[in-house]
């Protein structure tokens, strides 16, 4: 019976969504620094997963598929909120010393809002690499698979991202005030 199949698929999807939503929300939050943007992202992710649910349900790891969608939504979304920041040139000599310094900077972060703001100053791919490596705890090859690049690129991007994050935390300050009016840029289909 068609309705029975649909009802079963719906129940199964709802179970998946209930289980995956928390991790996806937090991943989206780390990627965007904003709770409502994270919710937007997860909603869009669920819509896309639902669209292909008959295929996704047979996967070994539907949650990993959903995470891939979410990351790619951030990466491929029209960059409405900010311009893509230019990536820093590769680090120069003294990598270990630089890493020690960066570790110290991260250790001394008290204000997580400042950290989120610093993350938002990174190019999206750098952000994605850090979130996938250090929040989702994925291996270099898994991250490379999601981002569609080589393991070497993931490795170098990770180093640049960590250095850039520490640099922003050290030398930059978030804006002190917010604008009076909120501007929302969207597009009608």
């Amino acid at each position: 019976m068609e309705w029975a199949r649909e009802a079963a698929a719906k129940r199964q999807f709802e179970g998946f969504a209930a289980e995956a939503s928390d991790t996806l929300l937090r991943t989206g939050y780390l990627m965007t620094g904003n709770a409502m943007d994270a919710e937007d992202l997860v909603q869009e992710t669920f819509l896309r997963v639902a669209r292909r649910w008959n295929h996704v349900r047979s996967m070994d790891h539907p949650a990993a598929y959903a995470r891939r969608i979410l990351i790619n939504l951030v990466l491929h979304d029209a960059d409405r909120r900010s311009r893509q920041k230019a990536e820093l040139a590769p680090q120069h000599a003294g990598i270990d010393a630089a890493d020690q310094s960066a570790a110290r900077v991260l250790r001394n972060v008290d204000d997580l809002a400042e950290f989120r703001w610093a993350m938002s100053q990174l190019p999206k791919r750098q952000r994605a690499v850090l979130v996938l490596r250090y929040w989702a705890d994925l291996s270099v090859s898994e991250v490379a698979d999601i981002l569609g690049c080589s393991a070497g690129t993931v490795t170098s991007t990770t180093s640049r991202a960590a250095a850039r994050l520490a640099e922003v935390l050290t030398y930059c300050e978030p804006p002190a005030t917010r604008p009076i009016t909120r501007q929302i840029m969207e597009g009608n289909s």
């Binding site: 698929a9 939503s21 669209r51 890493d99 989120r116 960590a162 969207e186 009608n188």
Partner: protein
Amino acid sequence: MPTGELEDELRRIFARAAADFESPDQARRRLLQRDYHPGRGNRRLAAGIMAGAAGVAVVLGLGLSGVFGSARHQPGHPAHVQLAAWTVVKQADGTVLVKIREFRDPAGLQRELRADGIPASVEFNPANLVGKGAWAIVHFKGNPCHEYSGGESQAQNVVTGGSPFTVGMFIHPAAIPSGAGVQFVASRNVGYASPQRDQAFDLFEWLVQPSPQCTGS
């Protein structure tokens, strides 16, 4: 690759930042209350989230009452309704959720907001824009509303939330200063066009002085 020490610090701070997510339970609840129609195909699902698309969407199960265009939703009725231009849902805590799909019927939206206790004025696509940018739009020629003096720091607490087309924006009546109202002005053809979508528009809200035209009293 960063050193082990740096990697440890990165893991630590990401764990802290992820744990700092405020109200994940409410967000989860909102997300799980939507009906995603698994396995039903593309067009129908996309209709629920794309602004301006015709199709079927689900009523948010958040509040006590909802308004869709000019038709008031009856709580407990089936979730599927024809999409209207906008949806207003008053929640149990007094917060009002607004979702916009099309820029139509601003007078109707203004009326429903006022009925839900928001001293609001709504203007879609005002004529005679004075140039471009936020201030040009809210200061369109003939705008009967004037900025509420001293409300700059309070304005950002009145409307929160994400895109009005997906999650919706939340209006907090309690955050509106006494003697002030809020005006929403949306305008197409300014700003920039998104490469992925046909048109772009801006939506602004600001606190305004009370008057019959702007706040209803």
